[in-house]
């Protein structure tokens, strides 16, 4: 097989089209993948992916990242504050029958507004949380409520950012994190107050 029109290998290679369009449009499948929350948001291309490219302005990230950092820091402080409260037994009387012991939960917070199981589980847990909150001293209760408000504010900020960039894997991950942190807070308060309920029954 010969191709006489080429006189050098360089000529031959230069004649090849660099761009070859695929037979079908790959974008629909790609966009579906991008819309789904990634199982792992680590750099999938490893060192190659980290290497380089034009820097992009991700307009919604600073707010979301700040919110996430605030939530992460308060979550640690919150757990400490809740556990410190345990010995302080100056509690108000129980106002409801003791529900079943609350176990730690991990709820997937993917599109929770459209996930009936999530909404139901969260509602149950929130009800327990609100009841148990009354067992705590007023100052602790106020602090936890303020922390919860911060988590919810962060969640709302991230949702707003997602409104502008709905396919952002990072924002979806942050949304999942804040949702889980809210659940963790409910669970932490409920678990921490279990001994208080036991002592009063």
């Amino acid at each position: 097989m010969t191709t006489p029109r080429f006189t050098t290998i360089e000529d031959a290679l230069a004649s090849l089209p660099r761009a070859v369009q695929p037979a079908r449009d790959l974008w629909p499948a790609i966009s579906r993948e991008l819309a789904a929350p990634p199982a792992d948001v680590a750099l999938a291309g490893g060192a190659a992916a980290r290497d380089t490219a034009p820097r992009f302005a991700l307009k919604s990230w600073p707010l979301a990242l700040a919110a996430s950092l605030a939530v992460a820091s308060l979550a640690g402080a919150l757990c400490w504050s809740v556990w410190r409260e345990r010995p302080a037994a100056a509690l108000v009387a129980r106002t409801a029958p003791a529900p079943a012991p609350v176990t730690a939960r991990t709820l997937v917070n993917f599109e929770p507004l459209h996930n009936a199981e999530y909404v139901s589980a969260r509602s149950d847990l929130e009800q327990v949380f609100n009841e148990r909150l009354k067992l705590l001293a007023p100052a602790t209760r106020a602090r936890i409520q303020a922390d919860l408000e911060t988590i919810r504010k962060a969640n709302a900020d991230i949702r707003a950012a997602l409104g502008k960039d709905p396919a952002s894997p990072l924002l979806l991950k942050l949304l999942q994190n804040t949702g889980q942190q809210e659940i963790d807070l409910y669970t932490s308060v409920a678990q921490t107050t279990e001994p208080m309920l036991a002592r009063r029954t």
């Binding site: 290679l13 004649s15 660099r18 991008l34 894997p169």
Partner: protein
């Protein structure tokens, strides 16, 4: 980067990324899989961009990384089908192009040993430096140069071009 911006990025670069994947895998279906995976990886890696190279180079790096990963995961798919490759290239050629010559060249390129073909595609067709090609392929720069020389020699023999001219 907004979703529509990323789609524009995809539209601008999909041809080169797919062409690279097609020449490295030799199979249109695998090339499509690698192209999709490449852009998904690129989207997820956007926060790690540092702006030290061109977008095309960065995408090529991810594409090569994806192809190498595919070869490791599915070594049985290393078998190449020159007829499928020819069909895919023929569809991409503008009408009036000297398709037989280009297809002969693509087929000749496809028949090269994998190591030589990888380097020839990256350096000869896509214009990357030996340093960049070696980094993408995970080989030494000297190996890249040796493979290029080997690839050029084998290609020249197939195309009937004298090495002195090559």
């Amino acid at each position: 980067m907004e979703g529509q911006d990323f789609e524009a990025l995809y539209r601008a670069h999909v041809g080169q990324v797919y062409g690279l994947c097609l020449r490295l895998t030799g199979q249109p279906a695998l090339a499509e899989d690698c192209t999709q995976e490449c852009f998904i990886k690129a989207w997820r890696a956007l926060p790690g961009f540092e702006g030290r190279s061109q977008m095309a180079t960065w995408l090529h790096r991810i594409a090569v990384n994806t192809v190498l990963g595919l070869r490791r995961r599915r070594p049985g798919d290393a078998l190449r089908d020159a007829a499928l490759l020819d069909d895919a290239i023929a569809e991409a050629l503008p009408s009036g192009d000297d398709a037989p010559g280009t297809l002969d060249l693509e087929a000749a390129l496809d028949r090269l040993p994998q190591g030589a073909r990888d380097v020839l595609v990256l350096v000869g067709v896509y214009g990357h430096s030996h340093e960049a090609a070696a980094s993408m392929l995970g080989i030494a720069v000297g190996t890249s140069k040796a493979q290029l020389h080997r690839g050029r020699r084998l290609l020249a023999r197939q195309l009937g071009i004298g090495m002195e001219a090559a």
